[in-house]
């Protein structure tokens, strides 16, 4: 199956783990630094701004900041690079923020179109005949981890597959690829290490997701 006809929605989540001050990252601060348009700061949808939790949305991105996590969500592919630039900009201005880990998460919502293909997909991933002692067994979640990253960097590579209700038909699956980067033993996270990782790995991470999904489909014979 041609991957283009199979993938319907691509979303990007960037997760930074470290020590953050949620009250600082506000829309007007972003506009003042030139990281977003002023008009976007005017039209922002703010839900919470608090020193423990901040959440606001622009048209193309949602930002959630906790004291130990910084999450950025985007489901509009044209803005993926802009999201990367935004994160780069935010943490460039907040240089003193210690960041211990970075997760570049791509979730591809794929439409298998027919019940047969949907069932076959799950069955190929995990043969249900092994569970024939259950009444009408179904797989609802599979998670596989590459314990040592193939590029040798600290972190892990994790693929999670589960049903998706975001596609056109009833036969959707979400392939969630978590590209997780950690610090080297001698790194503190306070010297822009994660920013360098974001800059150097963002594009490759996106390309690898495409390879992963292609390989998975090929291995499953879909």
């Amino acid at each position: 199956m041609d991957i283009k006809s199979f993938v319907e929605i691509k979303t990007l989540h960037l997760t930074f783990v470290g020590n953050f001050n949620p009250a600082i990252v506000q829309p007007f601060w972003l506009a003042q630094k030139g990281l977003i348009r002023e008009s976007e700061a005017q039209e922002v949808k703010v839900e919470v701004i608090h020193n423990e939790f901040t959440r606001f949305s622009l048209d193309w991105v949602r930002i959630e900041v906790r004291q130990d996590r910084f999450d950025v969500h985007c489901s509009q592919e044209p803005y993926f690079d802009i999201v990367r630039d935004l994160c780069f900009g935010i943490f460039n201005y907040l240089k003193e923020t210690p960041i211990k880990a970075l997760g570049i998460n791509h979730i591809w919502h794929c439409d298998l179109k027919t019940a047969d293909k949907y069932y076959e997909f799950g069955n190929s991933l995990s043969p249900l005949k092994n569970f024939d002692f259950l009444n009408d067994a179904r797989m609802i979640l599979l998670e596989i981890i590459e314990l040592k990253r193939s590029d040798g960097k600290p972190g892990a590579y994790r693929i999670r597959i589960e049903p998706s209700d975001k596609v056109s038909s009833l036969f959707g699956v979400a392939i969630n690829v978590n590209d997780h980067f950690g610090l080297e033993p001698n790194e503190s996270g306070q010297n822009g290490e994660m920013l360098k990782i974001l800059k150097n790995n963002f594009d490759a991470s996106g390309k690898r997701v495409e390879e992963v999904v292609n390989l998975l489909l090929a291995n499953l014979g879909i």
């Binding site: 283009k4 030139g34 780069f88 800059k199």
Partner: protein, 365 residues
């Protein structure tokens, strides 16, 4: 003759191979100086594979790039002369590296570092910066190109390479330019340096009784102490008694790079002229082809400069969307053209043998 299979030249053969990419993707010159000593001038990349084309050429004919490439020259840091040069330099572990920084080297290095702040990998100084890091790691000195400098000497009776430019006057002007660029360090956007062409390193190669001039992108100048006029009037290594029989025509055959005295005073009547077109700017123009054809019957180009506009092939829905939203979108096409010239430099009366590959052709047979 059209090349079907590339091969290694014999030890007594000097080879000067010009690699062109139909403009936009750059040019490079690979030189065999005899006895399996090689030099490379500039670099360019295949946009599909990312390979450095001179490196790819050397590997394809079986050159031991780690040991046999003796010199890499970066004539100037325009994108179309520098892409892939860091990778090339990294592989050529015994090679010297030569370019022309401004006279105030510290200021030049600062300029290169400030350019890296732009956080974009597409600027050409990034390749430069990587080469400097490699040189630093190796502990090998960098050769500064300047007027009438010997940058490679393989021995008394062996081949030599001289830099003919930039002149002292050009380097002084370069210093001032770098200072003003550093002062103008701006928050967003690029530091645009004006006219790296004027700082281009033109080269003279001598091998036996033969010689060749490689013009890089050096242009003519209003200042007689810069550009081609300065070389003609003041160079001590150019000899009117030993005119060059080979000329790599500067700056894609544009009128900016043309000086009639070069042809009349520095080149033989039967000199070979080679150029790489730059399709985006439609260089060389027809009138310049006519001018060069008046000087030599042996004018070669790595491709035609008149390939028509075309769009990239994409998904039909996207193609339709492009046609509606952006009808002006055109592809800058890539095609690798090679002009290989060989001569037995041990024979004084030897002639060049010129072969072509891909879209390269003899312009005025």
């Amino acid at each position: 003759m059209v090349i079907e299979q590339f091969d290694l030249p014999l030890n007594n053969i000097v080879e000067i191979t010009l690699i062109g990419t139909a403009g936009g993707y750059g040019e490079s010159i690979v030189i065999h100086l005899g006895d399996q000593n090689w030099a490379v001038v500039d670099s360019c990349k295949d946009p599909h594979t990312g390979l450095s084309l001179p490196l790819d050429y050397l590997n394809s004919i079986g050159v031991d790039v780690a040991n046999q490439v003796k010199l890499i020259v970066c004539t100037h840091w325009h994108n179309d002369h520098i892409k892939g040069i860091a990778n090339l330099f990294a592989e050529c572990k015994q090679s010297d590296f030569c370019f022309a920084p401004s006279t105030d080297v510290d200021k030049f290095l600062l300029f290169v570092q400030l350019e890296q702040l732009k956080k974009s990998d597409s600027q050409s100084t990034t390749e430069f910066a990587k080469c400097l890091e490699i040189a630093e790691t190796r502990g090998k000195p960098i050769i500064r190109a300047m007027q009438d400098r010997t940058i490679l000497n393989l021995g008394d009776d062996s081949s030599k390479i001289y830099s003919l430019s930039p002149s002292d006057a050009t380097l002084k002007a370069y210093d001032i330019e770098i200072s003003s660029l550093i002062d103008k360090v701006s928050s967003m956007g690029r530091i645009i340096s004006e006219g790296p062409n004027s700082k281009s390193v033109a080269l003279l190669l001598t091998f036996g009784k033969h010689s060749a001039i490689l013009g890089a992108d050096l242009e003519i100048s209003d200042n007689k102490f810069e550009g081609w006029i300065n070389i003609l009037d003041n160079s001590k290594v150019i000899s009117p008694n030993n005119k060059a029989s080979f000329f790599k025509i500067p700056h894609h055959g544009s009128s900016n790079g043309y000086e009639i005295r070069v042809w009349e005073e520095l080149l033989t009547d039967t000199a070979i002229g080679k150029l790489t077109p730059y399709n985006k700017s439609k260089l060389p123009r027809d009138e310049m082809i006519a001018v060069y054809s008046n000087h030599t019957k042996h004018l070669y180009a790595t491709s035609s400069s008149t390939s028509g506009p075309k769009s990239k092939k994409r998904d039909r829905s996207i193609e339709k969307a492009i046609k509606d939203a952006r009808p002006s979108l055109q592809e800058l096409r890539f095609s690798k053209g090679i002009i290989r010239s060989r001569i037995d430099y041990t024979i004084d009366e030897a002639d060049w043998l010129v072969d072509t590959y891909g879209p390269a052709y003899h312009v005025n047979p």
